[in-house]
């Protein structure tokens, strides 16, 4: 199988702070990671390759500083990596991003299966995989926690929905978005680490990609950030105390009692309180 995994490099969420004066994100000194759900997608691709053979290519879009992250993907197990990198790609929303990634897949001669994380931990629109599928004209399954390749030309994907799971059979080629956290992701293979450092990460710019200038970056992005504002938060009391566990528990119990929680008839039975009560 020709497998492509789309990877996004995102800032570590816990390290980003907001500059309240300028209402902008302070990313100075913030470290980045491969989006966790995308690593789950990579793992799913590697397992399919182990079972059915084929080749796994990691694909990302971003500045040249993303190359080391693609080497991490190679060290984890990807066979090759491609970075779509050009200033003209900057400022892309989901329409332009999915266009560009789809063009990246086309530049490899297409794929049998494109895997993405279901959502990025920074943007969080959860829309790029569907967009890639549409640009490529591939079938799609989103929010997938289990993938099989039962026969040539098909993929079987279990989607996790609000009220259950549905298992779909789709014709290949297809795009699948994989739910983060649904599969244990393997560690970096240290035998591969040195090889990955020397591996050739292919960097493709907009011209080499043959991208339509009107479909990439800011120009290809119909959505506009019209404004930023402080999140309107409900007025909380913001009482802050430092207490030993016993005293802290008493404070919580007081608060719960005042709020009528738990109402005594709802309290679950405990040894001193027979369930027949």
């Amino acid at each position: 199988m020709r497998l492509v995994v789309c990877l996004k490099v995102v800032p570590r969420p816990e390290e980003v702070r907001v500059d309240r004066a300028t209402k902008t994100l302070d990313r100075a000194g913030v470290r980045s990671v491969i989006n966790p759900a995308d690593l789950t997608a990579l793992e799913a691709a590697l397992r399919l390759r182990e079972l059915h053979g084929g080749r796994v290519t990691a694909l990302s879009m971003g500045p040249p500083s993303f190359v080391p992250y693609l080497r991490v993907a190679i060290a984890v197990g990807a066979d090759a990596a491609v970075l779509l990198s050009d200033r003209a790609f900057g400022g892309a929303d989901t329409l332009a991003t999915s266009y560009t990634l789809a063009a990246g897949v086309r530049s490899m001669g297409g794929a049998d299966l494109v895997l993405c994380g279901d959502e990025s931990s920074d943007g969080g629109t959860s829309q790029v995989p569907q967009g890639v599928a549409e640009w490529l004209g591939y079938s799609q399954a989103t929010y997938v926690d289990r993938l099989e390749h039962p026969s040539a030309g098909t993929v079987r994907a279990r989607r996790v929905l609000e009220d259950g799971t549905e298992t779909l059979e789709l014709p290949l080629p297809a795009v699948v978005s994989v739910l983060g956290g649904t599969t244990e992701v393997r560690f970096v293979d240290y035998d591969r680490w040195a090889m990955a450092q020397a591996a050739d990460v292919e960097v493709i710019d907009a011209t080499s990609l043959g991208a339509d200038p009107g479909s990439i970056g800011l120009r290809g992005s119909p959505t506009v950030v019209a404004g930023l504002r402080e999140v309107h938060k409900p007025g909380r009391r913001r009482e802050l105390v430092t207490l030993e566990p016993a005293a802290a528990a008493v404070r919580v119990e007081e608060a719960l009692r005042r709020l009528g929680v738990p109402r005594s008839e709802e309290r679950s039975p405990s040894p001193s309180e027979p369930s027949s009560a």
């Binding site: 800032p11 969420p13 816990e14 907001v18 994100l25 329409l95 266009y99 931990s121 969080g124 629109t125 959860s126 829309q127 790029v128 569907q130 967009g131 549409e134 640009w135 799609q140 399954a141 989103t142 929905l161 609000e162 009220d163 259950g164 799971t165 298992t167 779909l168 059979e169 789709l170 956290g181 649904t182 119909p222 959505t223 506009v224 019209a226 504002r229 402080e230 999140v231 938060k233 909380r236 009391r237 802050l240 430092t242 030993e244 016993a246 802290a248 528990a249 404070r251 919580v252 119990e253 608060a255 719960l256 709020l259 929680v261 709802e266 309290r267 679950s268 405990s270 040894p271 001193s272």
Partner: protein, 324 residues
């Protein structure tokens, strides 16, 4: 940009009912449509022809019901094609969908099909002074949200988080209902459903009055949280970090991409308090937070904040409450 094509709401069917989020959106969309001076149109697709009046009662001026026996289940290819046809024929200025799994699946595909802009997971909708619809999305890291518009292309497609708008009260209705009966056969479907397994004991945190929520700081020990939740008649919830780590089912994820909850009280344990999470507890009556880091943003979103290690505090609570 305001055309007369209207504000359209895609009302998602699940079984023989509408998704609650679709009706919530209709309530807010009524105000948006009035603000834009455009009609409110509800669009649905499913196996039942007779569901249009209900959407009219929830405020739609016009209803389009696409009905066919094969539409009892959602399929990306078929639903995208059917909606595309209606949207191209009527050129609405706005299309709103619930940010359910199927809603997101459809919105992302449809937006690219129509080469238009998509704003995902909004938590509020406003009509700006220039008569543009602005969808507000909580921003990264906390404290700010971004207002997104789609000024030059139509429709502006927006998905809305379940639970952010109140459920409207149905009125007398009376809007015009148009039924579309497409010809369809199985071969047009992009996928074949070979199994559906309903959740055994479906959790719905939006209906719980009491929540005990864990984040990264729990280190994955949700059994401890479960004991506490049981004692106070609550449910266990989690941040995205905790859900992605596989510590609890994704159905228990709270926040921007999880559920937006309205409990009477929520106890938040070991969560830093990123805004993507706190949007899911902003409607709580009372927030108690425990975190080891006195600088954690979660304390900004809490009524009672306790600086300390969560494990001994929870154990003490379980001991005290269990002994009552």
């Amino acid at each position: 940009m305001s055309g007369r094509g209207g504000v359209w709401v895609y009302a998602e069917r699940r079984g023989d009912a509408f998704r609650p989020v679709s009706l919530e959106i209709l309530g807010r969309a009524r105000e948006v449509a009035e603000g834009l001076g455009e009609p409110l149109v509800a669009l649905t697709a499913g196996q039942d022809e007779g569901v249009g009046d209900e959407l009219a009662q929830y405020g739609a001026d016009q209803v389009v019901v696409i009905a066919h026996p094969l539409l009892s289940r959602y399929d990306t290819r078929v639903f995208t094609g059917l909606l595309e046809r209606e949207l191209r024929a009527h050129s609405p200025s706005v299309l709103l969908l619930g940010a359910t799994r199927d809603g997101q699946d459809l919105a992302g595909r449809l937006a690219v099909r129509l080469r238009t802009g998509l704003t995902a997971h909004v938590t509020s909708l406003e009509v700006a002074s220039d008569h543009r619809l602005v969808g507000w999305v909580p921003g990264f890291g906390g404290g700010i949200e971004a207002g997104i518009t789609c000024p030059d292309r139509q429709p502006s497609i927006v998905t809305v988080r379940p639970g952010v708008f109140p459920m409207p009260t149905p009125g007398p209705g009376g809007g015009a209902v148009r039924v579309v009966r497409p010809s369809l056969d199985e071969a047009e479907f992009g996928s074949r459903r070979i199994a559906f397994e309903p959740n055994g004991d479906a959790v719905d945190l939006t209906r719980s009055d009491v929540l005990v929520v864990g984040g990264r700081g729990t280190g994955g020990d949700f059994a401890r949280l479960q004991r506490l939740a049981l004692l106070i008649g609550g449910e266990v919830g989690a941040t995205r970090v905790a859900a992605d780590a596989g510590w609890v089912e994704h159905e228990r994820m709270i926040g921007q991409t999880g559920v937006v909850t309205r409990p009477k009280v929520v106890i938040v344990l070991g969560a830093s308090g990123a805004v993507q999470f706190t949007v899911g507890i902003d409607k709580a009556g009372y927030v108690i937070a425990v975190n080891r880091d006195p600088e954690a943003p979660i304390f900004e979103a809490a009524d009672l904040g306790i600086v300390g290690d969560l494990a001994p505090i929870v154990d003490q609570l379980v001991k005290d409450l269990g002994a009552v």
